[in-house]
């Protein structure tokens, strides 16, 4: 965590600071569904929901980097509620 280095399946992944913070938050709350509002508050320290879904855009970026080129999905969308980081069996 201190080194801010992310590795999946032995491959190093480059993340932007905000993407890193988002991933760290999801990992701390793994297997729990976190809402957009929770992400806004805890990752960005914003206490409201902008009209445009900035969280979704950011999650998309993160997914591209940590899920896309790997076999299984780790970041799942729970419609209407939020997102969850889960290791599918």
């Amino acid at each position: 965590m201190i080194n801010r280095e992310v590795v999946r399946d032995g491959r190093k992944i480059d993340l932007q600071p905000l993407e890193y913070s988002l991933l760290a938050y999801l990992m701390r709350n793994h297997d729990k569904v976190v809402s957009k509002t929770m992400i806004m508050e805890n990752v960005w320290d914003y206490h409201f929901d902008p009209q445009t879904n900035v969280v979704e855009a950011r999650i998309c970026r993160l997914r591209d980097k940590i899920d896309k080129s790997f076999g299984s999905k780790m970041i799942h969308t729970v419609r209407g509620v939020g997102y969850v980081l889960r290791q599918d069996q």
């Binding site: 905000l18 960005w44 320290d45 914003y46 206490h47 409201f48 929901d49 902008p50 009209q51 445009t52 879904n53 900035v54 855009a57 950011r58 998309c60 970026r61 419609r79 209407g80 509620v81």
Partner: protein, 474 residues
Amino acid sequence: MFFDRINKLRYTLAFRLTLWYAALFVLSAGVVFILFYMLIGSAIEQRTDDDLLQRRNAFSRIFALQGAEMLQRTAALQAQAAGEKKLFYRLFYPSGVVFSSSNMRYWKSIGIDYGAVEALLENGDDIFVTHALPNTKYHTRVIYARIGSEIMLQMGYNMEDEERLLQVFKQWFLVTMSLMLALAVAGGWFLARRALAGVAMVTRTARQISETDLQTRVPVRHRHTEIDRLAITFNQMLDRIQRLVTGTRQMNDNIAHDLRSPIARIRGMAEVTLTKSETLDEFQQMTASTIEECDRLLEMISTMLTISRTEAGMHPDRCTRVDLAAIIHSACDLFEPVAEDKAIALRKQIRDAAPVLGDQRMLQRMAANLIDNAIKYTGGGGVVTVGLRRDGTDSVLLTVADDGMGIAPEDLVKIFHRFYRGDQSRSLPGSGLGLSLVQAVARAHGGDVQVQSTPGHGARFSVTIPVAPTDSKG
């Protein structure tokens, strides 16, 4: 009933003004009269004294040149010429023995004032005394003088004629005064009523308005009187109230409309799901949609509350020294992926640190709303420029410019109204509250927001906020 009305009248301004007017009038006239009266009285006395002194000097000369015999004869002649009741004299020795006098039948009551004689013997100066004549209200002026070393003179002059004149003057004055007092009351009442007629008109209009509608205005005669100014101010206040009431009414309509649509959608979805759906998945879909709609509603309601609270003024506890530049940087970072998705270039032109005193969260929200808007109304491939720089020495200028669809000139003012959405923006998501919040936050921080736009060529929002004083620790 009658007394009731009189009692009410007592408290009216017109009544009081009249009273003041009449009182001042009587007071000033009274002062003038008393001054005149005293002046005339003292003039009469002065003249009498002069006359007595002249005679006494003549007596002294005659005695010195022609002796006591001639003095007696002259005195008798003078008293006779003036009239028995007008002038009297006594010539006596210092011992008090009278050796010559005029006919004293009328003057019996006036004896020799030995106190005056003694004082006269002591220092030799003439002495004047005023005696009241018994049974009349008139006075006699008496001189005591030393004619020779052994001869004393007491001579009196009756001031009745002069005092009668003064009496007449007093009577006439009283008659005139009462007439003028009546005139003053009538005139004062007329003037006060006339001056206050305008006030009465304003009162009538105000009563009419509270009873009926806000359309009525007080007629203004444009004569630049105080009443006209009152009427104009009153009308301006009415204009403002009318605008506020209309605005509130319109906003209520908007709120009702904007809250109705999502609720109608939720109900529609629930109905369709209930009647047509069979699988668990379909029900789950419906629940998720319901949550999304509800979130939107909740956000809208909480934004409304935030705007109201912000407009009511900032909470001092939340006010700290914050760097607006840092806030703008992080807001731009937040929207970077959204802009990228739309292929919009989000450019930052942040020159200086911008310390301001404010509520961090509200300023974040203001910046986010502006950038959000700019991205929303800009087409793919456009450019959104966020600038922040010092504007003079005491304020910072935040600009958010886009090259999107722009804003129609007639909408430029209205976009800051709550729930207002221009024709072009209706199709896009949004609550119509974002810019209201921007304005509320800017104003709560002592600044303001302005917008310039050429339709079709983008819009540019400029927010000015005062710089935090350097000595403040925040």
